[in-house]
């Protein structure tokens, strides 16, 4: 059959069109069945994520409330020192913002980039109505900080609604007065060390989970069903216990006057003044999160190991391999999809974990999500929170991509 001569049905209809028609109703039914979930996912997942990503680069607080000054910034190149027209625009905007009661919003926005400036805006705003030309002198008289080039650089940055500034902050970078990107002073670097700590602790937790879960999963997979079900319940117990109950019991166990320390002291292993600090620090975070996330490692491993025919190891043994060689060369490689799935799952969950570190992490055991929560709830810098979240999301996506390249997503078995 040549390419110019398409297949037709018995009554001459092109075969492709006949097939489409025959499958149309099935396709519609499939779509209708999927539609509710699709709608749900769009409303509860895609839209909020999209909004968050948008917010991380978009903050209209300054341009919306300071139109004249924004116009001056747009007309002049970066690094231009403020002239009389600039001060006139600033005074006019401050008057208008004071009348609209939006000075505090503008102040908060500039305060993100230049801490301590919120009061400058609110204080000047209260006296804005009294400002008279020449505005440069009037403003500098009101507060000498209005002449600070750093303030003008910060206002210029804030004057465009779309800004990479929040991402710069999230990476401990800042824009200098002349507009170049530089690292913030060492004592003010917060986010990058916290990201590193988050990934480091998550990797440690993932490793611990793997070490603990591998033997258990192997045992579950080889035991008769009756026993493995019982053991499985023990593994899943953390899932079914209230988070607070679990955390409280960790506190009871791990605190300085807790069960473990008291036992060690009673046995004479530790002196009474040498009690271990195992909670409200990184150790506490690692122990508690390993416990919580262990089932996410056990389940994929178990489901993969269950499918590995014991004949493989037997075959290896009969072919002359010692039990260690058979494990290393035959069994272990076949569990890789489970290891990959479990590690990916645990790592991704750990990177975004919030409650457990908040409760048992103390100061040194906090993760990046605790800081995101801080910016959402306390400092109300939602754009920065969004930028941090987006970076976290980006890291997870990169990880996922790496996993796909190395192991292949279709090899993943989640149970």
């Amino acid at each position: 059959m040549s390419a110019t001569d398409p297949l037709t049905t018995a009554d001459g209809l092109p075969l492709k069109r006949a097939l489409m028609r025959a499958q149309r109703s099935a396709r519609w039914r499939a779509f209708v069945l999927v539609a509710p979930l699709l709608l749900f996912v769009v409303v509860t997942f895609l839209v909020p994520i999209g909004q968050m990503l948008h917010r991380s680069v978009h903050n209209p607080a300054f341009p919306a409330n300071m139109p004249a000054l924004t116009e001056w910034f747009r007309a002049t190149p970066a690094g231009t020192s403020p002239d009389d027209r600039a001060f006139a625009a600033l005074a006019a905007d401050l008057k208008q913002a004071a009348a609209n009661r939006t000075v505090a919003i503008v102040g908060t926005r500039i305060n993100y980039d230049l801490p301590g400036t919120r009061s400058l805006f609110t204080a000047t705003g209260r006296r804005a109505a009294a400002l008279a030309p020449p505005f440069r002198t009037a403003l500098l008289e009101a507060d000498a900080r209005w002449g600070d080039p750093a303030l003008w650089a910060a206002m210029r940055n804030a004057s465009s609604a779309y800004t990479p500034g929040f991402y710069l902050s999230a990476l401990d970078l800042t824009r200098g007065n002349d507009g170049t990107i530089e690292r913030v002073p060492e004592q003010r670097r917060v986010y990058v060390p916290l990201f590193l700590r988050t990934f480091g602790l998550s990797a440690a937790i993932t490793g611990l989970c793997l070490l603990l879960a591998f033997p258990i999963a192997h045992m579950l997979a080889t035991l008769p069903l009756r026993w493995s079900n019982l053991l499985m319940i023990l593994v899943l117990l953390p899932f079914w216990t209230s988070l607070l109950v679990r955390t409280t019991s960790w506190i009871v166990l791990l605190q300085q006057q807790g069960v473990i320390n008291s036992t060690l002291v009673a046995l004479g292993i530790l002196g009474d003044d040498g009690r271990l600090t195992m909670i409200y620090n990184q150790t506490g975070t690692v122990i508690a999160m390993t416990h919580v996330l262990l089932p996410f490692m056990v389940l994929p491993l178990y489901s993969v190991m269950r499918t590995i025919n014991p004949a493989y190891v037997r075959a290896a043994r009969s072919l002359g391999a010692t039990s260690w060689t058979a494990f290393r060369r035959i069994y272990l490689p076949q569990t890789v999809p489970g290891i990959g799935a479990g590690a990916l799952l645990v790592f991704i969950l750990a990177v975004g974990y919030y409650i457990t570190p908040a409760l048992v992490g103390g100061a040194s055991g906090q993760l990046i999500s605790n800081l995101i929560a801080f910016h959402m709830q306390d400092s109300l810098n939602w754009s920065l929170a969004a930028a941090l979240s987006a970076l976290l999301l980006g890291a997870v996506v990169i990880l996922y991509w790496l996993y796909d390249r190395l192991i292949g997503i279709d090899n993943m078995k989640l149970g």
Partner: protein, 367 residues
């Protein structure tokens, strides 16, 4: 039971018992000697203990009691990887994450054989099963029959003297299975290896083996060459398990050295050969192969008793005619006749007389 001289025995089971739960014996008092170069099949229904015996020989199960010797050496304490026994598993157990070549190289690698020698041996083993071009494929890319060949090559590549096969052809379709039976047989003959083969397929056991051990209930019921097994079953289990058999229950009327008269429940008398009956008045089960029953008077052996039969069903099977009869009160008496020129087709409802040579009917223990 054929007994082998001690020197000739390459594999020996001596008084071997096996229990998994400490309450029941899966293998009860197994004694078996397998000669060097022999093809021995363990045949039996599932749960008869045959696979357990194989696993004990391979070293994956330990005997609860008794001794297993390989080449005169007790191997109970030898771990599986030091026994040097090649094994083909039921589902081939080809390592899915390795290529065919890597699968075959594995036993050589763990033995520390150098790369060049390894490659030569792998190539030779692949050629032996006509799979030379498949070294770089993954097992999943092969058909069932090809996987089977690779599994075979892998079990042979390190030149073991003994190869165990655990229902290796069970997953193949009928035609391929028959083809592979011949290939395995040929490999056995050309390499001179000893093969212990486990199957529940009697056809396979009969076509391939030098001797067959029929297992049931943890015991060897009969150990014999295929023709012996088929033509001279030692008891009712073997008679019923191997091939098709007609069974007529009755009571010994008269017993001689190689001839008995059996009175059936309907009062008729038939001839048979005594196998495990000893005295008059004993209950017995007479077994006769369907193809040894005659219904044409001119073919009936001289002096043999004949009995009444009513034709119930005639089935045309191509090369054979299969006729179901009512004989002595049972409805499932079957006779087979070859579809030769002029062979008579019996009509349902027809009344005939049937008979057989006494040596074809065997008076066995009652079930």
């Amino acid at each position: 039971m054929a007994s082998m001289s001690r020197d000739a025995a390459f594999v020996e089971f001596e008084r071997v018992q096996k229990s998994y739960d400490g309450e029941t014996l899966v293998v009860k008092d197994l004694n078996l000697a397998i000669g060097q170069g022999e093809f021995l099949t363990m045949l039996g229904p599932s749960g008869s203990g045959k696979t357990t015996c194989l696993m004990m020989l391979a070293g994956f199960e330990t005997a609860t009691h008794g001794e297993i010797r390989l080449g005169g050496r007790p191997i109970t304490q030898v771990p599986p990887h030091k026994r040097g026994i090649g094994m083909v598993f039921q589902n081939y157990a080809l390592f899915p994450h390795m290529t065919v070549g890597e699968n075959l190289a594995f036993p050589l690698e763990v033995r520390g054989i150098g790369k060049s020698e390894r490659e030569a041996k792998v190539a030779r083993a692949l050629d032996m099963v006509q799979m030379g071009a498949f070294g770089n494929r993954r097992p999943a890319q092969l058909s069932g029959g090809q996987q089977q060949r690779i599994a075979l090559a892998r079990a042979l590549v390190f030149d073991p003297e003994l190869v165990l096969m655990d229902e290796p052809l069970g997953a193949l379709d009928k035609q391929l299975r028959e083809h592979m039976q011949f290939e395995i047989k040929h490999l056995h003959q050309s390499l001179g290896i000893t093969v212990v083969y486990v199957t529940h397929d009697q056809g396979e056991a009969l076509t391939m083996s030098d001797r067959v051990a029929v297992f049931n209930d943890g015991r060897i019921q009969q150990l014999a060459a295929p023709d012996d097994l088929y033509e001279r079953p030692a008891n009712s289990f073997v008679a019923g398990f191997i091939g098709e058999n007609n069974k007529l229950p009755g009571i010994i009327e008269d017993i001689g050295a190689d001839h008995v008269l059996v009175r059936l429940s309907t009062g008729e008398l038939i001839d048979a050969t005594p196998v495990n009956v000893t005295r008059k008045g004993q209950k017995t089960l007479v077994s006769i192969r369907p193809e040894r029953v005659e219904f044409k008077p001119e073919m009936m052996p001289d002096g043999a008793h004949s009995i009444d039969a009513e034709v119930l069903e005639f089935i045309y099977m191509g090369d054979l005619f299969r006729t179901r009869l009512r004989v002595a009160g049972t409805d499932d008496f079957v006779i087979k006749s070859r579809n030769t020129q002029g062979q008579r087709r019996l009509e349902p409802g027809e009344r005939i007389r049937i008979g057989w040579a006494p040596q074809d009917a065997r008076a066995l223990d009652p079930v």
